[in-house]
Symmetry: C2
Subunit: 217 residues, 2 copies
Amino acid sequence: MQKLVVRCFALSLDGFSSAPGQSLENPFGKGGLVIMDWARQTRSFHKMIGQEGGSTGIDDDFMAKAMDNIGANILGRNMFGPVRGPWADDDWKGWWGPNPPYHTQVFVVTHHARSALAMEGGTTFHFVNDGIESALQQAFVAAQGKDVRLGGGATLVRQYLQAGLIDELHIVITDKLLGSGERLFEGTDNLARDYECVETVASGTVTHVRLAKKKRD
Amino acid sequence: MQKLVVRCFALSLDGFSSAPGQSLENPFGKGGLVIMDWARQTRSFHKMIGQEGGSTGIDDDFMAKAMDNIGANILGRNMFGPVRGPWADDDWKGWWGPNPPYHTQVFVVTHHARSALAMEGGTTFHFVNDGIESALQQAFVAAQGKDVRLGGGATLVRQYLQAGLIDELHIVITDKLLGSGERLFEGTDNLARDYECVETVASGTVTHVRLAKKKRD
């Protein structure tokens, strides 16, 4: 059975996955990037951006496994870029430069049509404008038996959560405070009914928590 | 310097300190009591309700210290009881029976006047209806140099947080999901500016986090 999984999704201690004011300079909003400090110091992250060094241990283990058995990715439109509304042109090609760290087909959920965009390293961005279930269906096909990773942002993860379509959700509760921003858990009343916590592991400053869909009898 | 502290304040993983539907049978709302499981299994809690046994370790250490150097307590009206609106009579004397676990002066913040209520074991409930600062002032006096503990509920803790009056806030992030209920961190935009995380300790299923007011230069 293929799964839809969320991995390494960081939250501030007060429940926000980004601060207000997303822009080209601030993908996580103003001051929001601190919730990724735990990840950016790991060896796996260093490797991903072509650097030596970095920490090993629990945080690095989760980072290292983030792409394990992932055959396709799904992203929300705001996670793909700061551009809002219809695509004026094809200039914006994501935050990640010419060789994005996905190396799979990536399905970007958006209200606005745009042609597919092939990047270096095996990443192709497809823009899906007929809903989250269509994006998931296409991603499962593209993943060829492997799992699909939903990268974020919070709005899209919330939509998939509300629909009960996420099989595993790994969140990272950090020791950072944002005060305001975008919540992951908002209007997710079905959470208590449909999901349960299956793992809690702390690594010093952050706590890794894995939620899984409850088994139906 | 006397401090206003919050200790052992439990939250669900999705950020709620109680579920909807508080009533006489359900002080934490329907199904909400599960966020206190970690506390109820400790030796300190067993001792508090006159029972033998219970777990030792990190959770118990926090429970054991919850009343350390506390000279007075402050409670919100909903934490004192499920009664809403003006006090019809003096029948309701709190959730805790004739000998409440406070053993100090307790200031209950309410909109509605009521005479002080002396209980067994040194607890006296005072009903303060002129605001949170007045309650704090009275509690500091009653504490005679010791600290004051703010017990909850979330609404009152939030008000003191927003006013920057809490010196230390110990929260317990549990592995339980509630889906909806009352949030602690809502409209607390000042949190990032005024507070910082000074300790994160995990005990298996829950994570203890201590926030402290930032030092001003």
